[in-house]
Structures are given as C-alpha cells and as structure tokens.
C-alpha cells in the first residue's frame, strides 16, 4: 500500500468573519500529478500556504510528507519545493551560480551541491550552458532551470503555481515532459492553477470554490461525471443570422460563434436537434450537420461554478 504524501482533514481557515477555507479534506499519493483548481479568491493560495507551513489553520489538520504542517512546519519545509511563473531566478547570475545559490539556501554541503548540479544540468538539458547568464536563456530554458532549482534538495513534493500559463505550446509540452519524468521518479507534483489547459496534464483534479471543494476526479471522469447541459456543434451557412435566430429560442441557453461553426448549449439534445432542423428549413438556412460534442474542462469548470453560485443564492 502506498502511503499518502499529503493528507488534509477537515481543514478550515478564517480571517475575522471571512472563511477562506471551509472544512476541506483530500489526500495525494506519492508520484501523483495533482491539480488544485480554483479562480482567484477561491481559497487556493490559503490552502497552499497552510500546506507549506507558512500559515496556521483555524481548525483541522494537514499532514505533509509525514509531518504536521502546523506543528512541524520547519521539517515540512525541508521536504517541499516551490516554483511559480514569476521565476525566482537571479538573472545576473549564471546557470551554475543559480544552482549553487539555491543549494546553499537549502543547506546542502558543497559535495552535495556538486552532485545535484550535475543531475539538474542533465535533467533540464542545460549541458553546455552552465556559464551562461540566466537572462540570456530562452523562456523555456529558464523555466526548466527554475524547476531544477526548486528540486535541488530532492523534495518529496513540488508545488507549481501556474507553471505554464500563457507560454508557447512547444515550451509547455517540453516542460510537462520534464514534470512527468519527476513524477515517474516518485516526486509528487502539486499544481495550482486556474488555467484549464494546464489542468489537462494532471492525473487527478480537485476544484475549490468559495473555500469548499466542489468536485474531484481525473480530467476524463470530471467531463463524464459532471454532465453539463448538452453542447451542440452546428455546421450551417449564414452563421451570423442562424446564431441570432437561435439565441431567441428559450431552449437555447447560450450560443457563440466558434470558427466556422456555432456552439450552442441547449436544454435537451434531441429536442434541440429537431428544432434546429425545423427552424432552419423555415428560414432557408442550410444545415450541414449538428453533433453533440464533449465538453472541455473549461465547460465543466464553468458549469460547476454556476451551479454552485445558484445554490448559494437560493
């Protein structure tokens, strides 16, 4: 049996009257790429701060790498690494100097640093660039170096804060390849983000909203389990006119232009398909095809949040 590397039990954090984190529980397995999703202000950063031992919870408990994040915060800190989009590299130091600097911060001996440096350079594909100034590196290489520095002390868990949002897709792909290698070697990867394209890379996801966990599962499970209203892809001519007509129908919840197609969210699939055919033939719009499509993670995320907010209002 693999022991869980993060165990969170009934964790809450209040600031005055405001409950930032509201009685959440979850656990993460070693080597897992775990995605913690939520919009700004959802309680994401508060949770991470508690897990990293920077903030004390109001109630409940978090065990991180076998230590109590509240009472044994100093020990927790030796077991974790952290990297965010706003890289914490020193631009006017060379690649090698950055590695040595971080090794020093984490209290490694000179011999340990030397050994880890070799490993980082190899893992990140920075061989030959050891003496280059960090500011001269491409965004992709900087990102790899930042990750290397975050794991120099061989932490059990690495926290990544929006690691690849808005970066070039090729860099992003290479970076996730590197993350996969770490995860294979047993390092647990804890990703926090509100970008759903990053979430697709995670083995398991947890969605936090208003301090509470409202959904969890693998990307595929989330798409299958939390059925959104059906989304139809409509291929027809006169798309603008067609959209205008459809948006007036009460069974169409939402519609938008999507490239050469229309995407419409409807109340019920069969009803909608029949009505589209009917309306289009009346208006002499020619319909090529209409298919139900898989929701994206973003569709699922938005629909979950909308449902949550509706029930809060009731």
């Amino acid at each position: 049996m693999s022991e869980e590397v993060i165990i969170v039990n009934n964790l809450s954090k209040k600031f005055g009257n405001f409950t930032a984190v509201d009685n959440i529980s979850f656990s993460v397995k070693p080597g897992e790429i775990f995605g913690f999703l939520g919009a700004n202000g959802a309680g994401k950063s508060t949770t991470i701060r508690i897990l990293c031992g920077i903030l004390s919870p109001s109630s409940g408990k978090a065990m991180v790498a076998g230590y109590d994040a509240n009472r044994e915060a100093e020990l927790v800190k030796t077991q974790i690494g952290y990297m965010s989009q706003k890289f914490s590299l020193y631009e006017d130091l060379s690649v090698e100097e950055n590695i040595i600097f971080y090794g020093g911060i984490y209290g490694l001996s000179f011999a340990q640093i030397e050994e880890r440096e070799k490993w980082i350079i190899e893992m990140t594909g920075l061989a030959g660039s050891e003496k280059r100034l960090t500011r001269e590196l491409s965004v992709g290489l900087k990102q790899r170096l930042a990750l290397g520095c975050a794991v120099i002390h061989q932490p059990k868990i690495v926290f990544l804060d929006e690691p690849t949002s808005g970066v070039d897709p090729v860099f992003r792909k290479n970076f996730w390849e590197l993350i996969n290698q770490f995860s294979e070697q047993g390092t647990t990867i804890f990703v926090t983000t509100h970008y759903l394209d990053e979430a697709e890379y995670c083995n398991r996801l947890m969605l936090i909203h208003s301090g509470r966990i409202i959904a969890g599962g693998s990307p595929g499970e989330l798409k299958a389990r939390y059925i959104t209203n059906p989304i139809l892809k409509v291929e027809c001519d006169k798309t603008l006119e067609a959209l205008e007509i459809l948006q007036k129908e009460e069974w169409v919840l939402e519609g938008s232009i999507f490239g050469a197609y229309l995407h419409i969210i409807v109340r019920e699939e069969l009803e909608a398909k029949n009505k589209i055919k009917e309306i289009f033939s009346e208006r002499s719009i020619s319909l090529k095809r209409v298919d139900r499509i898989m929701p994206s993670l973003e569709d699922v995320f938005i629909s979950l949040i909308e449902k949550e907010e509706q029930s809060n209002r009731l």
């Binding site: 919009a39 491409s138 996969n180 205008e244 050469a260 938005i302």
Partner: protein, 307 residues
C-alpha cells in the same frame, strides 16, 4: 462580395540586427475573426503594432480600410481600436470617467449614448462609479475593451487579450467578442491559448517574421499528416515510460489520465503496443484516432520551419 479590410504586401521591420517581420503578406476580410498564433518572438506583436499605425514599417505597403498604411496613418487610427495587456486605465478615475477620457482622446464629443451601450454590452453598468483600481482583473479587461471601442472602430486589434484572466471572465470576454463579430466588426487578435484560436474564422501561424500557414482552424490541421491516437492505459506512469522507447511514436504526451501519440500508421503501432503491454502486464483500456489539435499543428509547423 466580401470587403477587404486589411491588405499588406512585403511588410518588413527590423530592430537592429533582428528582423522581426519579413516580407509578410496578409489579407483580412470584413466580419472575420482572424487569430495569429506562433512561438514567442515570431513577430506577432510587431505585426499588430504596424497594422495599427503605431510602428512604421521599414518596407512594404498596405491598405487598412482602404487607407494607405504609410501615408494615411491618422485616418487609420480614427477607424481602428487597439487593445493590449499594456493598455493603461487610470486607476484613480471611475469606470465612467475612463471611458470619457478615451472619448476625448479620440475626439468623440457626443459619447454619452455610446458609453451607455458599451456599459450595457460589457455588463459594467452596476460598477460605473467605481474607481478602476478597485475592479477585478476581468472587469478591468472589459473596461479596457470598452475604452478601445468608444469611437466605434471598424476593426479592432487585440494583443493577447485574455492573458492572466480567470476562466469565467475569459468565457465572458469571448461572448463579448462573439457579439462584436455579430455587429460586423472585424477582429484581429494574437493569443497563446490555442483553444481560443479554435474560435477564430481563420488562423495564421507565424514564425520568423512571416506567416507559414493561414487557413480555417479545421483547414490548417491538414498540415499534420500523421495520425493522433488517444490511448487510455490502466497505469499511466508505466505506460508513458514504456512508450517513450518506441521510435515509431513521433510525439508522446501524457495528459492526466490518457496519452496522446503522434504516429504514421496507427494500426501498426497499436499492434506493437498491444504486444508490449501484454508482456509487461499492462492493459489498454481504450484507444481511438482523434482529430489533431491546434497544438499538434503548432508543433508540426514549428518543426517544419526549423527544417
């Protein structure tokens, strides 16, 4: 016939030794939503700034809305809107005042009615008296868009409009863009998010200062001649490690609970995978050939351009 809104030929711009845009050609028609994608440093922002008349091209010629790109810049500026991440709002002015300020800059004296429409359109009505610095990121972005639309431009240029915005606001923003297209406004935008490029009527992939491919999001996928297999194994970590060693798999991507494989011949590769998995005690839970994503297109085109 569709009206030509943007037409540029052999456009060129260098910064010192670095040529940012070279011999670039582009045509954009009325009512289009044209998306520019490409790696960092491809020249996307430089191109947008030249099309807006903010940056003077070094060579080449063009017409925006029929006006000459070199000689009639002032006319062009009057009829277009420009919005980027660097768009500066005045934090100590209210929503209303910010729009008023931009109306004055653009010389729109009778802006009241237009402002009402824009506030309604961006759903910022309830916040009209709030200071801009007190708005959330998503609302700031909508206000910036409203400001850049005050003079009723015919074309609007958006440079990475949704970078750093949360998914709910992003969805909201795209609804607004869809409405703009609906009103007949032409939109040209750059984006690092390929799911946004899927929403465009045409997409241009830019690299090394020029367009390598321009087509509809569906059409541009023909550049990927390989097949994309989506495979769900029972143990993702081990499966990923094993498949990494198969040379017939040109690209391997681990996506949470599934793997995406880029291959020449799916039957041949899957045959091999079944055997390998059998030997290693792994299972293929399911597999299918899926349409290439724009990410596959992006990676393929970039490889081609690197030779």
């Amino acid at each position: 016939m569709t009206e030509l809104m943007i037409e540029v030929r052999d456009l060129k711009k260098s910064f010192g030794e670095v040529s940012a845009v070279r011999d670039l050609n582009l045509e954009v028609f009325k009512g289009e939503m044209f998306g520019i994608i490409g790696p960092d440093g491809a020249g996307k922002t430089t191109l947008i700034r030249m099309l807006c008349g903010v940056l003077e091209p070094e060579a080449g010629q063009g017409r925006i809305l029929g006006y000459d790109l070199i000689k009639e810049i002032d006319e062009i500026k009057k009829s277009i809107g420009y919005f980027s991440q660097r768009f500066s709002l005045y934090g100590d002015l209210t929503v209303d005042e910010n729009i008023e300020f931009f109306a004055e800059i653009h010389g729109v004296s009778d802006y009241q009615e237009r402002r009402e429409k824009l506030l309604e359109f961006t759903r910022l009505h309830p916040f009209r008296n709030r200071l801009a610095e007190k708005l959330s990121g998503g609302m700031k972005q909508k206000l910036a868009l409203a400001c850049s639309l005050i003079h009723t431009p015919k074309i609007i240029f958006l440079d990475e409009p949704t970078t750093g915005v949360d998914p709910v606001s992003r969805r909201d923003f795209w609804k607004i863009l869809s409405d703009l297209v609906h009103q007949g406004i032409t939109i040209v935008l750059t984006t690092p998010y390929l799911d946004e490029a899927e929403r465009c009527s045409r997409v241009g992939f830019m690299n090394l200062g020029k367009f390598m491919a321009i087509d509809s999001p569906q059409g541009i996928k023909k550049f990927v001649s390989d097949k994309v297999i989506e495979l769900i194994p029972d143990e993702i970590g081990r499966a990923y490690k094993l498949l990494k060693q198969i040379s017939e798999i040109k690209e391997l991507q681990a996506l949470g609970d599934r793997l995406n494989l880029l291959v020449k011949d799916e039957k041949e590769v899957m045959g091999g995978i079944y055997e390998l998995f059998e030997r290693e005690g792994l299972k293929v839970k399911s597999w299918r050939v899926i349409a290439p994503s724009l990410e596959n297109v992006f990676i393929t085109l970039q490889k081609i351009s690197q030779g």
